[in-house]
Symmetry: C2
Subunit: 226 residues, 2 copies
């Protein structure tokens, strides 16, 4: 019988992508109101470009944005952007509607829960704390700590080691086929894809290789399967 | 007639010291609840020591605290500390009761307002934005930008230049005798001390040198003087 259930965080336990867009627009609207000479949609495109270039964990996107537009950094606009981004983000940071009840259900059934996440350790803990769900997880294993990102087997093996669980008694839940699903399968675990759909090629691969992979539409479907 | 009124930020426009203590205690209580093996008062003393050593603008006080206690950093405790510190700080960040009405009064009388502050530019803007008063100020001049801290004359001269005001038509309001008051006086401005009391030596100095320095008990007293 399965013993350990591991989760990805972003877009698996909560709606990262949805709130990020709202928070960015709120930030840019305040900056435009204070003198940024762009439309919201021009500013949004420029910010996305900067995030793509610098990476989402870079913490000076708004500095680069003002420098790009004005030729120099504009402290008031940067501060307005950062504050409004964070205000909206923290106000909206909530688990998916059925995340918490699903975690309670799995805990009550005796499963041990963990997290395997690509990201910066303290930032990932911060998300779990702000989401109000950090107490559910025995171990939170990040690429930052391990030095390898999903889908590399090392991050899955480290998580299994820390929990003292065997791969064949563990399952990974995530929204990214390559990172979460194939990473887990290659480490000997089974896997469930959530909030995402399989492509034709992915379906064929699963069938051909007889991979232990399932797809669910909503995290609460775990309650029926597990 | 006076034209420009410059303000210090911390403990002049809002109660920095009071809320910092509350926010630190809230953070430490959460960390203790999650396994930090200290009493609140032991933890508070240790945190103060770390802040004194590393400076208040260092952003990894809780990292150092867990490393000191456990011999290694504890990401969950660090994240709990940071989040609860910021939650309490942002909830409590309010101007002194009569700050806003005083700024409105001075603006309505035709004074031009500015800020002269020792600190990091974006952090100081962040405070003014979160306090809801940033629109009052034509110029916010920080030591970070100028490269000189109060009481150095250069930061006062830079503020006067940017406003296009003469020193003898400008006044500085602050809570620190040496930084705010003597700094302004040495740059040729007059000055008003608020939220602080003069020592015997400071009184003697003002009298002996006939300095243009006054003392008020509350920021709202500016409405009677100016």
């Amino acid at each position: 019988m399965l013993k350990a259930v591991f989760f990805d965080i972003d877009d698996t336990l909560y709606d990262t992508s949805g709130f990020a867009k709202l928070a960015r627009n709120a930030a840019l609207d305040m900056m435009i109101d204070a003198g940024l000479p762009l439309t919201t949609s021009e500013a949004y495109d420029l910010l996305r470009e900067i995030i793509a270039q610098k990476g989402s964990n870079y913490d000076k996107h708004f500095n680069v944005l003002t420098k790009t537009v004005f030729g120099e950094e504009k402290p008031l606009l940067i501060a307005l952007g950062m504050i409004n981004y964070h205000n909206v983000k923290f106000a909206l940071l909530r688990p998916f509607p059925r995340t918490t009840s699903t975690l309670i259900d799995l805990t009550s059934k005796g499963y041990r829960l963990g997290v395997i996440s690509n990201g910066i350790t303290i930032k990932q803990w911060e998300k779990l704390i702000r989401l109000g769900i950090y107490n559910f997880f025995e171990e939170v294993v990040t690429s930052d700590e391990v030095g390898f990102e999903k889908p590399h087997s090392r991050i899955f093996e480290e998580a299994l080691n820390r929990m003292g669980c065997k791969a064949e008694k563990s399952i990974m839940i995530g929204n990214k086929f390559n990172e979460d699903i194939m990473g887990a399968v290659n480490a000997g675990m089974s896997a469930i894809l959530v909030n995402s759909q399989l492509t034709k090629e992915e379906k064929d691969l699963i069938e051909k290789e007889k991979l232990d992979v399932r797809v669910i539409a909503d995290i609460s479907d775990l309650q029926k399967i597990l």
